[in-house]
Symmetry: C2
Subunit: 415 residues, 2 copies
Amino acid sequence: MHAEILSIGSELTSGRNLDTNSQWLSRRLAELGVATGWHTTVADDFAANLDCFQVACRRAKVVIATGGLGPTQDDLTREVLAKLAGVELVEDAASLTVIAEMFRRRNRTMPERNRVQALVPAGAEVLPNDRGTAPGIWMRHGDAWIAALPGVPTEMYAMFELQVKPRLQALGLAQGCLVQRKINTFGLGESHVEEKLFDLTRRDHVPEVGITASDAVISLRILARGLTEAEARTLTEPVERIIRERLGEVVYGVEDEELQDAVAALLVKHRRTVAVAEGVTGGALADALVGVPGASAWFRGGVIAYDDGLKRELLGVPADLLAAEGAVSAAVAEAMAVGCRTRLGVDLALATVGVAGPGPLTDDRPAGLVWVALAHADGTASATFHWVGNRAEVRRRTAKMALNLLRVHLLRRTA
Amino acid sequence: MHAEILSIGSELTSGRNLDTNSQWLSRRLAELGVATGWHTTVADDFAANLDCFQVACRRAKVVIATGGLGPTQDDLTREVLAKLAGVELVEDAASLTVIAEMFRRRNRTMPERNRVQALVPAGAEVLPNDRGTAPGIWMRHGDAWIAALPGVPTEMYAMFELQVKPRLQALGLAQGCLVQRKINTFGLGESHVEEKLFDLTRRDHVPEVGITASDAVISLRILARGLTEAEARTLTEPVERIIRERLGEVVYGVEDEELQDAVAALLVKHRRTVAVAEGVTGGALADALVGVPGASAWFRGGVIAYDDGLKRELLGVPADLLAAEGAVSAAVAEAMAVGCRTRLGVDLALATVGVAGPGPLTDDRPAGLVWVALAHADGTASATFHWVGNRAEVRRRTAKMALNLLRVHLLRRTA
């Protein structure tokens, strides 16, 4: 373990703000082959800051600090680092010019207090900041290297990439590259996915393959390390091929892709239009589809038939079918999809019915029980599931289930 | 500064997971009058853990650790604390019974490795965990008190409240009470709200009043400290009254209440039903309404008329009106609301039209331009806005705007 990340600010220790810089830095360092052993967050207090820098320099080879470089009296990092090094603060002429210029470009007079931002411990190196008024500091203490960066994420990200990364590489601390590939699936439970990939998800498998579940989407993450990105990809690519071979049509996308993105691509490719008839999802299915930019090319609209009367009036579901089967049934879901397809004049129509909860609809219609249906040119298809989850989860997951029914239909009919 | 929070786990130092336990604990401690000076996160490494506990006990009076209490070999907290205290681990019979019982109730055999979860450093106190198999540990080291809790948030939250809080209070470390009151508004911009409350939002005002904006909802947070909750509330209540007097109907709720909750309460109170005709929001408005448990009592359904043809066919918007005014217009929004109200047989109907983006619809219909409309027994109302935001933001905020139009209507007609 080589690195410690030190986040400075009472807004973090008080719990007012959540520290996300440490996670970002840990990930970037891991990608560069540097393992982080510690995150420390400390309030704006001189003695506590000095102590934290001393502790960090004792145990880590690289200490990356964020925050405490602003112009106010709370901002102590410059003084703490001078004290740590046992030197005076000196004004860096180049930094002062940059800061003054930054104010001039905004047609503002530089407040006198911003002058302190040009101070650095004597002998330390200045890390230029082209997005803000706080330059960073690079210095050695004992066996450790210290990089002090501003706490503002956008400034910190850029300075890490432009200033810190090359220095870590030059020191031989940052070596290699970590590549992550995420593969998203829908339609198989987590344990079924794991069963099919048991040899890959073992803890000692190289590259590492992890499974995560989020709202019924099961994702695989392949993590591989290499000296270069290309080398790491030669490790992830064969594993991705195996996963795709074993899981087949269950795989719907990679990285941040959602089911509606996969559906949208297939609808565009096959020039099909779609509409929705929503019961239990109550707008969530249409909302997901309309969220895709360019949806107007293939999404026509829909009917939210939350009330059973509307299932008859707007979608033409026969009253006797509703009475015989109940609204939460395969037959009614399919009748809604067929009615929607005809009345809205689309190629494909999706329908959802179910019990969102809390509480059951009737004794034989418990909370979480849902049906989704699809109407297409040659007939209908439907699927059912009994979700364990709260009202919001049941509704979101049922919308995904409907999207997946459509996705698989489009895949198969054109396979 | 009294407290240090120590989060244990390589999944945190590697950046794979984000630590939110530290923020939660800091907030709860602050509410109890305990200031947190440090957060430390450490990887699953024995020596590094021992060092972190030693450093924390040197500088803090209370050390709250989370994680490392599971049944696997990575879970080191029990052993680290025994080493720190210079004692052996001993099996706590009561804990073992509880763990075994937990497996028995789930009809599972207790794996042998779970037995280690009943071990505690000799002389330490066991903190019962009624939500999981990992009991916590309470012990003194040097001048500091240590509470070791599981890392699973729901287990940790409950154990903090039931086990740690009373112990801190008994020690006289937790004194006083911080009360927060959140007041939610919609309909005025952040700077307008601030203008009306300028005297209250000054930095030196007691109690402190902060403003935050989230998706066009502007919230005020009143923060007050007292020896008891009742005493703190005597500070927040007069400020809440002033805010309500000055902002009037712009205030729609408190704490986590959303606009749809306020709308639902008014619809129930006045026994009115509602339906929606959605253009630009494309399901998001219905989704918000249906998300309220019990929505079936007052929500009937809706039409998603994303396509202009459907605005005519399903809602009866005249073709010449569409041609003359364009779909993104007050007249079309009102016609959609009127058509929806009549055809779906409800008391009140909402409609939305607009340009979600990316990119404009036409030269005079830029991305972000929207109209919302309401049809009621005595006529119609409408409102327009030009949002600056991405596709998802424009759609979410427009749904809120429509909900607010309905809310204000229901408030005024019954005032």
